[in-house]
Symmetry: C2
Subunit: 336 residues, 2 copies
């Protein structure tokens, strides 16, 4: 079972927890100055370290050998960065089973360890990332400075090399226009919050990623605690706004059930409309209005109905119309 098929803690408002650790190997220059030969060496050393430890059954993927759709699909599911999917030469991925952990080799840093979990689970996710960090630390000598901490190519990662993020589901905050003030307030506390899928459409505007900005002069635990404290306040605000919307009349319930009806019946669903409708349904499930639907099923669709992932799972390229048909079919089948 993939990590996102499970329903995590605070699932009504928190979709996923993610931890990323940036590491570099001491005897090599940063990736931007590496030769292809050096890249291969670092990739191979990392692969060997992971495989020797048999750390959770990893697959080693030479990124250059992937089709563009499979590479894009990995980015859609947040297993790699979009840039990593674009520029694939000399880059490799160690992908753990269930897609809970991934290690990007040759991204901005030599090694980027990443762990993902459903719901609010930053402590456990950090622990998972640290286990991989320990495995690699035994075989590789990381670039580390006693005073600064881990050395990274970009100074914004210097120190812990940690980026902890939560993907939040905030439809009520978004609808009531409370996000603008919220973003300004958390920025002062070393936290950034931004739309996960860009700010283009209303629909996409209900998913937000909140992350720590500070990596220098704090411990990993402090950074995670700060992030969780602020997330807790945002979650409380979202829940209170939801109850408020719900109490105002049948309009919210009407919108939620219309979207549910459309998802269960449409024969064509664009990616944009799907995101908008599933966001309504996810809110309905969170509010207890649709007891027959599990959040895990909703979130699996959230990840798997994206264009490249849809094609990757179908095993062939599809034009937009064929994707819309297949998306509608799969959604109908899932919510039936």
């Amino acid at each position: 079972m993939k990590w996102y098929q499970q329903t995590g803690l605070e699932g009504d408002t928190v979709i996923s927890s993610r931890v990323r650790l940036a590491r570099n190997v001491a005897e090599y220059p940063f990736p931007c100055r590496m030769t292809q030969q050096q890249r291969q060496e670092v990739n191979e050393k990392t692969r060997q370290a992971i495989f020797d430890a048999n750390a959770g059954q990893f697959e080693y993927i030479d990124m250059q050998k992937l089709t563009p759709a499979r590479a894009m699909s990995l980015a859609e599911r947040h297993l790699i960065s979009p840039e990593f999917a674009q520029e694939r030469k000399g880059r490799a991925l160690l992908l753990g089973k269930d897609e809970r952990v991934s290690i990007m080799l040759g991204e901005e840093d030599h090694i980027r360890i990443q762990a993902l979990s459903a719901g609010l689970a930053l402590d456990g996710t950090l622990k998972t990332a640290w286990q991989l960090d320990d495995v690699l630390d035994e075989k590789l000598r990381f670039a580390f400075d006693e005073r600064l901490g881990y050395l990274t190519q970009c100074p914004t990662n210097l120190g812990t090399g940690l980026r902890a993020s939560l993907m939040l589901f905030l439809p009520a905050v978004a609808q009531t226009g409370a996000m603008h003030n919220l973003a300004a307030a958390v920025a002062k506390l070393g936290i950034t919050i931004r739309g996960t899928y860009g700010e283009g459409s209303d629909a996409k505007g209900t998913f937000f990623q909140i992350s720590n900005q500070v990596t220098l002069g704090v411990t990993e635990q402090e950074a995670v605690k700060n992030l969780m404290d602020i997330a807790g306040q945002i979650i409380a605000q979202e829940r209170s706004l939801r109850e408020n919307l719900k109490s105002r009349g049948p309009q919210l319930e009407d919108r939620i059930f219309r979207s549910y009806g459309i998802l269960r019946n449409a024969r064509l669903l664009s990616a944009d409309e799907f995101m908008s409708r599933i966001s309504d349904v996810r809110l309905g499930v969170g509010l207890g209005m649709i007891p027959e639907v599990q959040l895990g099923d909703v979130d699996a669709l959230l990840w798997e109905m994206q264009p490249a992932t849809l094609m990757a799972n179908a095993g062939r390229n599809l034009d937009a119309a064929a994707r819309d048909t297949l998306r509608a079919e799969t959604v109908r089948e899932t919510l039936k």
Copy 2:
């Protein structure tokens, strides 16, 4: 069971058949020149004739005693004319059980006999109206001229006094813009065709009433045959356009099933939106796409979800928001 809960012949394209016979009692002036005393006398004589013959268990309704909602509801279901619902003084209605027959007393003519059936059934419907005509003819002396036929207040009804109508369901004709040419063509053949619910919205624009215009110099059978011949051609055109729309891709099926999903899930449904969605669903049922839904159920909703009928059946006045809620509830329950 009310007449519209049954599925009639050619139900995919023909919702109902209606026959109206205009009659006047010889010894009285036309209604526009009658005293209230004379109106009462004609109403009472007609009532007596019908009740004596026990012709199909009639209810006698003094129109002035009805609430506005009940009067409007009768008009919504085409059991009386809208004018008859507006001006109710001195007017009465004999309403047959199952609402298959009704006799308006004191409309434009003294007596207007009307019979309704589901689907294409003009011959049988004419027979039903004639049976009532015979019952009344035994007791009352109708204003009749050997050369002209039945005398009516308005010369456009002179002769047979017959208006035969079909309510047609023509979403494909409407969508492809073929109605304009069609209306011009049938006008030359003594037939009028017009939108049943006005031409305001797209939705309402899929229901059309087609009727004979000529009452003088033709027999009733000739008028009905002419109407049925032309209706047959329109039905064939509608069906061919439907197949054409269906073959063009999944867009039609998508629209139909979205409307089906919305009707089965919405918590608020305005009268306009309901008409639009139910029209899509009716098309889907006609095309065999929604085998679990019966046309009789769809058509019952078509009549019963109109604003005044909704209130009449609820037994109380409802504001627009309460009607939208009750409409959505009833539709969900019916299509469940």
